[in-house]
C-alpha cells in the first residue's frame, strides 16, 4: 500500500520569501502525484498534478513541484509567497495501473503561515 509523508507539519515564512513544502511517498508501482490546498473551513482545491511526462509541473497561484523518482519525492515550491498563500497544503498519491488508478492517499498536511 502506498503512503505519503509530509515532513513539516508547520512552515512559517515571511511575505515575498521563497518556500518549499516537502513530500515523500512510498509505492511499489507507478504513481500519480497531487498537491491540494485547503483554506479554513473549505474543501480541497487542486494546485497541480503529475501524471506523466515532464518532471517539473507548474500549477496555479505560481506554485510548482518536481517529481523525483529516485528520491520518491514531490516537493512543492514557490519563489515568492503572499499573505494569501496562508493555508494548509496536502500532498497525495495514487497507484497507477493500465486503465485507471487506485484510491488517493493523503499526507497529514503542512500548515503554511505567511507573515508580513
Amino acid at each position: 500500500a502506498q503512503s505519503v509523508t509530509q515532513l513539516d507539519s508547520q512552515v512559517p515564512v515571511f511575505e515575498e520569501a521563497p518556500v518549499e513544502l516537502r513530500c515523500n511517498y512510498s509505492s511499489s508501482v507507478s504513481v500519480y502525484l497531487f498537491w491540494y490546498v485547503q483554506y479554513p473551513n473549505q474543501g480541497l482545491q487542486l494546485l497541480l498534478k503529475y501524471l506523466s511526462g515532464s518532471t517539473l509541473v507548474k500549477g496555479i497561484n505560481g506554485f510548482e513541484a518536481e517529481f523525483n523518482k529516485s528520491q520518491t519525492s514531490f516537493h512543492l515550491r514557490k519563489p515568492s509567497v503572499h499573505i494569501s498563500d496562508t493555508a494548509e497544503y496536502f500532498c497525495a498519491v495514487s497507484d497507477r495501473f493500465e486503465g485507471g488508478s487506485e484510491k488517493l492517499v493523503f499526507g497529514k498536511g503542512t500548515k503554511l503561515t505567511v507573515n508580513p
Partner: protein
C-alpha cells in the same frame, strides 16, 4: 466553472442522533468519493462509487455509516447513531477519468 455541491455546510447534532449529508458531483462525473477529515489530518476515503455501484467501502464503519447513489448522480452519506468521535469534516469529490478528483466545500459535523 462546474463545482461539486455539498449540503449542509455545517451540522451540529447530539450523540445517538441520525445525520445525513448530500453531495451533487460535477455533471458527467461517473466516480464519486466520500472522505472524512479529522482536524489536523489529511482526508481518508470512506467510500467510492462508480456510477451507482460501490467500488470501495473498506474503510466505511458499516455498523453506523451508510452511503447510496441510487441514480448514479447525487449521493447521500448517513450516520446513525452519531458518536462523539464522528466529529470531522466530510468531503465529497468527483472525477471524470481515473486521475484528478475535484472536491466540494465539505460538511463540518460537530457531535455533542
Amino acid at each position: 466553472e462546474a463545482e461539486v455541491a455539498q449540503s449542509p455546510r455545517y451540522k451540529i447534532t447530539e450523540k445517538s442522533q441520525a445525520v445525513a449529508f448530500w453531495c451533487d458531483p460535477i455533471s458527467g462525473h461517473a466516480t464519486l468519493y466520500w472522505y472524512r477529515q479529522i482536524l489536523g489530518q489529511g482526508p481518508e476515503l470512506l467510500v467510492q462509487f462508480q456510477d451507482e455501484s460501490v467500488v470501495d467501502d473498506s474503510q466505511l464503519p458499516k455498523d453506523r455509516f451508510s452511503a447510496e447513489r441510487l441514480k448514479g448522480v447525487d449521493s447521500t452519506l448517513k450516520i446513525q447513531p452519531a458518536e462523539l468521535g464522528d466529529s470531522a469534516m466530510y468531503l465529497c469529490a468527483s472525477s471524470l477519468g481515473a486521475d484528478t478528483q475535484y472536491f466540494g466545500p465539505g460538511t463540518r459535523l460537530t457531535v455533542l
